[in-house]
């Protein structure tokens, strides 16, 4: 087995597009990642980070790769129906992992800002990527990130020079369009903000049809000194789809990151967020909201490393479970020796609304310094009977009252979405999901 990829992943390892040999450094990274995949093998539930997740269904589905030449023809009707009303953005659209210039609308970019597709950059300015690609994630990569590194399609590249400030948000729309057979898309994104740069990124994963496919995405985010990034991620994949995200974040001194992860779609949606502070006085706020309905598994793994002193992190994830919905929250905050005056607060709250829902949560603290303020809190509970009664005594039906309380529970996270237009779309989507959910 040592010279072969694990069963089911062979197609994932084939890098799309340009033939090998174009860039020696890139080939080396890809070969290394492929080797890693072979070494890692397929994890089972004995692996701690796969304790509550089985890959059986994923492996049983054979995924083929996307034929990139067809990508532009897949969305003949355009994407107007999927735009956020009132959102003025630098828009880049990817279809099944591949850049679609026709659907994108980058608009005019201020000086010091470069936004484009990964493969265009590899042709036009490979040196800009050479030091950056795989820099945040590092050479040791977990299985799905290594698969992406070895066989990524295309992706978004955002490079902001020192002091560059982008007023309008960057919007990345990833569309999944059905094909004859289940296929896997492996988008690979790189966002690097140099010292003092500021930007906002909105990432949206959308499917045109309720089909079976897999999206295996990796994001590398590098925030320089004093840089600020607002990052809203809205995952609305098809209810049959597999969605995998590896989000790698590195924050230099005084940088500020605020990420909101909304998970609504996918049969199995796994998000790994690996955040690391490399400079002091940086702040990181990770928030999440997940709705897990029938047969859905929302699977979150957070690993926040306070490697240096004086940084602040906040991890706040909330989930609503109904039907046979399942959620996993595996959060870890590591405070390294000498990372004094760390302030970290992790919270995971779950509302369980049905007989067959399940939550497995594991909020961990690993602390090797004494002058720290660290806490975590977890709750699993139901809709509060007092609150429900209050609403009903004002004339609201039990089901409307329940929905309202669920929205109230979710509200804290929805309100922290950076862009109001996006906030409204999400509130609407969450409301619609709850509307169709059997909450009684």
């Amino acid at each position: 087995m040592s010279d072969q990829a694990p069963t089911g992943f062979e197609t994932w390892l084939v890098a799309a597009g340009s033939a090998a040999g174009e860039h020696e450094w890139l080939d080396r990274q890809r070969r290394h990642a492929a080797e890693q995949v072979r070494e890692l093998g397929v994890p089972n539930t004995k692996h701690e980070s796969w304790r509550y997740t089985s890959l059986k269904r994923l492996l049983e589905t054979g995924f083929s790769r996307v034929d990139e030449t067809r990508v532009d023809d897949l969305v003949p009707a355009g994407i107007d129906a999927y735009l956020v009303p009132g959102l003025d953005s630098h828009r880049i659209v990817m279809v099944n992992g591949h850049y679609s210039p026709r659907l994108s609308a980058l608009g005019e970019l201020p000086p010091g800002v470069r936004i484009g597709a990964l493969r265009e950059f590899l042709t036009s300015d490979p040196d800009a990527l050479r030091e950056r690609l795989n820099a945040v994630i590092g050479p040791q990569q977990p299985l799905f990130s290594a698969l992406n590194t070895a066989g990524s399609d295309d992706g978004l590249v955002v490079l902001l020079e020192r002091g560059a400030i982008l007023e309008r948000p960057i919007e990345l729309i990833h569309l999944a369009v059905g094909m004859e057979v289940p296929r896997v898309a492996q988008p690979r994104h790189l966002i690097a903000l140099a010292e003092g740069a500021q930007a906002a990124l909105i990432e949206r994963y959308i499917s045109l049809n309720p089909e079976l496919y897999c999206t295996n995405s990796v994001l590398e985010l590098a925030l320089g000194r004093d840089a600020t990034l607002y990052h809203d991620r809205i995952q609305m994949e098809s209810p049959q789809a597999f969605h995998i995200t590896g989000l790698y974040l590195d924050q230099a001194a005084n940088s500020h990151y605020q990420g909101v992860n909304i998970g609504l779609g996918g049969a199995w949606a796994r998000t790994d967020i690996i955040a690391r502070f490399s400079g002091e006085h940086a702040q990181c706020r990770l928030q999440g909201l997940y709705l897990a309905g029938d047969q859905q598994l929302m699977d979150y793994h957070l690993d926040v490393e306070h490697a240096v002193p004086n940084c602040t992190s906040q991890e706040n994830f909330k989930g609503i479970l109904y039907g046979k919905g399942r959620a996993v929250f595996d959060g870890r905050v590591l405070v390294a020796r000498n990372a004094q005056r760390t302030d970290a607060a992790m919270s995971n709250k779950n509302l369980m609304l049905s007989e067959h829902a399940e939550v497995d949560t594991k909020p961990q603290l690993e602390i090797h310094a004494d002058d720290v303020k660290c806490s975590h809190g977890t709750t699993v509970g139901q809709i509060d009977a007092e609150m429900l009664f209050y609403l009903r005594s004002r004339g609201l039906s039990a089901s409307l009252a329940r929905r309202m309380l669920c929205l109230g529970f979710a509200g804290e996270i929805i309100e922290s979405i950076h862009h109001e237009a996006v906030r409204e779309v999400v509130a609407e989507q969450v409301g619609a999901r709850l509307e169709s959910a059997p909450l009684d």
Partner: protein
């Protein structure tokens, strides 16, 4: 409008209401007074349909309908309103959204059309003024982070908006300073009408200085042991509950 006959209710194994009778006609204000533990709150909770109380006997008819057979929202839709003693906080639930949903549920039940946004906002602002409440309330979550006085005012504000036929004010005066009490009472008085009845449940006579009742009842040990006009409240204030209780025992 409301007719309570021999109402018995228990909490767990303890019988709290032991045969309570009360007749409320349209436009009347009834004050129910009594010492702590007499069953005042149980009575208002049973009327509003709260869980945890078992009705073991008697009946409650509201405009001829069996109130006890109705869900809490059906009672609200029929025109029964409870101003809570301790309004629960609903973090994250937007007040405007909540008020609109409540008002439209009730209008729908009455066979009226839903209000459009403009009319609704105009109505809301008008009602806010009655209770000297600020617009900012509309952006906040329901009762969330409200002071004690704000919560009580918010209850009366909701009552003004929902325009019930029967309002039950459960210890609305508790925890209010004199200024807040006056604002709340003014709000309540502004809502008095020949069609609207109220049951004012209170421990102290104080509130009745501002909301003048037509009838005063003394509730003790789960039954109404004495009824009279507003002068009964003053007498109680003067002589204390011990006085009626003694008289009851003597009788």
């Amino acid at each position: 409008m409301l007719s309570v006959n021999g109402l018995k209710a228990k909490v767990g194994e303890t019988e709290i209401l032991k045969g309570l009778d009360l007749e409320v006609k349209p436009g009347e204000i009834h004050a129910i007074m009594g010492p702590n533990g007499s069953g005042k709150s149980t009575f208002s909770h049973v009327l509003s349909g709260r869980d945890g109380y078992e009705v073991t006997g008697g009946s409650v008819l509201f405009e001829g309908q069996d109130l006890l057979d109705m869900e809490p929202e059906e009672r609200a839709q029929a025109g029964v309103f409870l101003a809570f003693q301790y309004p629960v906080e609903l973090p994250g639930v937007n007040n405007t959204y909540f008020l609109k949903a409540a008002l439209n549920s009730i209008r729908k039940a009455r066979g009226e059309s839903e209000l459009d946004a403009v009319t609704f906002m105009r109505l809301i602002k008008e009602k806010l003024k009655i209770l000297h409440l600020d617009d900012s309330l509309l952006k906040r979550a329901v009762n969330s982070g409200f002071s004690g006085g704000e919560k009580k005012r918010n209850e009366i504000f909701q009552m003004a908006l929902l325009e019930p036929k029967l309002a039950i004010l459960d210890e609305t005066d508790s925890g209010l300073d004199i200024d807040a009490l006056r604002v709340v009472a003014d709000g309540v008085n502004a809502l008095r009408s020949p069609e609207r009845s109220m049951i004012v449940v209170t421990h102290y006579q104080r509130l009745l200085d501002y909301i003048e009742p037509d009838h005063v009842h003394v509730l003790a040990k789960g039954r109404i042991i004495r009824s009279g006009g507003k002068e009964l409240a003053l007498e109680l204030e003067e002589k204390g509950y011990g006085w009626v209780l003694e008289q009851e025992q003597a009788a």
